[in-house]
Amino acid sequence: MIDVVEVGKVYGKKDQAFTALADVSFTVPDGASVAIIGKSGSGKSTLMHIMSGLDHPTKGAIVVDSEDISALKRKALDRFRAEKIGFIFQAFFVQANESCYHNVSLPLEIARIGGNKRRTRIQAALKQVELADKIDQKAKNLSGGQKQRLAIARAIVNMPKIIFADEPTGNLDSATGEKIEKLLFDFNRKLGSTLVIVTHDDDLAAKCDMQIHMKDGRITQITKKKVVAS
């Protein structure tokens, strides 16, 4: 469960102060899929950064599994991300010159998982995104959709509790985008990991259990699919 409690984020000081987030509060149940929707500048990316422990809020708390991560020191926060969070970005951010194997290997290396365990997990993750045959290919030789699948493999290899996806289909054509969406929701259901998608795509948002609409740093509306039992 992720509890976002009265989170605020202010950039700059005094006269130049800019409020990116104000009084944001909501709760995401374990295993749910959540869409954070809003135009650019609405504060949705800032919210994702704070929820994932990349950024500190100016006020408020983020409670993940009864631990307030906004109070964690940098080292503990790094560990939190390494162990519990998976990231998927709009621009993929795969390491172009590394092989698929070494791309997926990165989170395991950071978490100090080695040997056979590492190899089996990488192979399994690549198999799940149907890239098993590209294991030794360099990431730069992959197509856009394949790159995003590789990024998904990297996000799930560590079996994270929460996966954050920032505009996961933004750089893809609609057919490829749909495949990626399907993969994401499949893992959300199969692995039981919470999925947080940041998007301005209403169709994608509609496929989630819960939609948080943002504007000017505030939540304007929270909608939920009926099927979700909270």
Binding site: D55, E83, F87, F93, L106, P107, I110, R112
Partner: protein, 458 residues
């Protein structure tokens, strides 16, 4: 992140920028090449001079004199000195320079011989014979010394006694063999040669000559001088070796008793008679530095000046060390110049991979580990540069060593470039550390990047 994973990642990212990596490494390689060659040359020259000293100076021997100049290894002191009866002028061959030296007398030798730690004393007999010849052969100039058992020359034929040459025995340098009409060195063994020595002009002979000249009885020529022909039996033929100081292969050696007879004969009636510019002493167990130094201190407290074999070795070594340092400075300067190359390369690498750094940090990699990723990258550059430089040095050394040995006439088995694996390993390690230091600030920049900013970078 484990160190092995960090090293592997750093190596892979370097492989992606091969051209840049190799060019940066080459700058270090030049420094490594210079330093490796310098170290090898230092080793070689030191080994060579050690052999030189070992072949020419018995470690338990010291030179003992009455004059400060004996112990002065630098240029002679030219300042005037108080006159002393035992002072004689010694001239240096060729250069025309001369130096006044307070000499060691026979009485001094008696005193030194009685000292408990002195095993033996050999005065330095400076004999200037006129010529050496043999029946049916021309006359040749020569230098002649008393045989020193601690300074055995390399031989072509014959054998050398352990202690001293007996009676009329002589060691003949190789160069005289054919001049004196022997078939070869073996042929010369057991045969005789004649060395002619002369007495100084006697007062009477000089007076007689002057009177005769004034009377017009002689228009040219010189006063009569007493000479003596000494017949010597060749017991060995010496070789001009690379590990001998210049005169060693050129002098005839006779036994010390014979040398004393000859010295006394050639100095009779002069101020040199019974005096020697220095004597060589053999100290009991003097191969031990502390024993030799204790003997030195004692002799110096008795008013002698002493140079031990170690002193000579030290002087030669100092000279080699200074030369080596001069060359090494060039290598160090090259390495310093290459540091800027590494710093530049590492900054470019950090800049190019800003988003990658952002990703790694987002995934929970510690800033410290990101920093080390880049430092190890720099270390790889240092390793590569060191390996290329040392490898080239080894190659060059292997190729030119035989040629150098031949050109410098060192004798087979001697090399000027001697490579020491541990020195090379040490050098490469040092270069790796230098490279890590050079990569420190770029790596710190990487470590401090904010993941959100880094990921936003286009």
């Amino acid at each position: 992140m484990r160190i092995t994973d960090t090293i592997a990642r750093a190596a892979r990212s370097l492989r992606q920028a091969k051209g840049r990596t190799i060019l940066t490494s080459l700058a270090i390689a030049v420094g490594a090449l210079t330093l490796t060659i310098t170290m090898a040359a230092g080793n070689g020259i030191r080994a060579y001079t050690d052999r030189l000293v070992a072949n020419n100076f018995d470690p338990s021997e010291s030179i003992v004199g009455r004059d400060k100049e004996i112990a002065n290894t630098g240029a002679p002191d030219g300042s005037p000195k108080e006159y002393d009866d035992s002072v004689t002028s010694l001239s240096f061959g060729g250069s025309g320079g001369s130096v006044q030296i307070k000499q060691v007398t026979d009485a001094d030798i008696l005193e030194i011989e009685k000292l408990p730690y002195v095993e033996s004393v050999r005065p330095n007999y400076q004999i200037s014979p006129r010529y050496v010849t043999r029946e049916g052969s021309k006359k040749y100039t020569l230098s002649l010394e008393a045989y020193n058992p601690g300074q055995k020359p390399e031989l072509v034929a014959g054998t050398l006694p352990a202690k001293d040459l007996a009676g009329d025995d002589v060691v003949l340098p190789e160069g005289y063999v054919s001049l004196l009409g022997f078939r070869d060195a073996k042929d010369a063994l057991g045969k005789t040669v004649t060395v002619t020595i002369q007495q100084p002009y006697s007062q009477e002979a000089l007076q007689e000559f002057v009177m005769k000249s004034l009377a017009g009885a002689v228009s040219e020529g010189q006063p009569i001088q007493n000479t003596e022909d000494i017949t010597l039996t060749i017991s060995a033929v010496s070789k001009k070796g690379a590990a001998s100081l210049s005169s060693a292969g050129l002098s005839l050696y006779v036994g010390s008793a014979k040398a004393k007879d000859m010295y006394d004969y050639t100095t009779k009636g002069t101020s040199q008679y019974g005096k020697y510019s220095y004597v060589s002493i053999r100290v009991k167990d003097g191969a031990d530095v502390t024993v030799a130094n204790r003997a030195k201190d004692d002799l110096q407290s008795r008013g002698y000046y002493v140079v031990t074999s170690q002193d000579i070795q030290k002087t030669i070594r100092q000279f080699v060390d200074i030369l080596q340092i001069l060359v090494a400075v060039f290598g160090v300067i090259t390495v310093i110049a290459s540091i800027f190359g590494i710093v530049n390369t590492m900054y470019i690498s950090v800049l190019e991979r800003t988003r990658e750094i952002g990703l790694m940090k987002a995934l929970g990699m510690r800033g410290r580990h990101v920093g080390w990723l880049f430092r190890i990258e720099a270390a790889w550059i240092g390793l590569l540069g060191g390996a290329i430089g040392s490898g080239l040095a080894l190659l060059i050394g292997t190729l030119i060593n035989p040629w150098l040995t031949k050109t410098l006439n060192l004798g087979s088995g001697n090399s000027i470039l001697i490579f020491d694996a541990w020195q090379i390993i040490g050098l490469i390690t040092a270069l790796i550390l230098v490279a890590i230091a050079a990569g420190w600030f770029p790596a710190r920049k990487a470590a401090r990047l904010d993941p959100i900013d880094a990921l936003r970078t286009e």
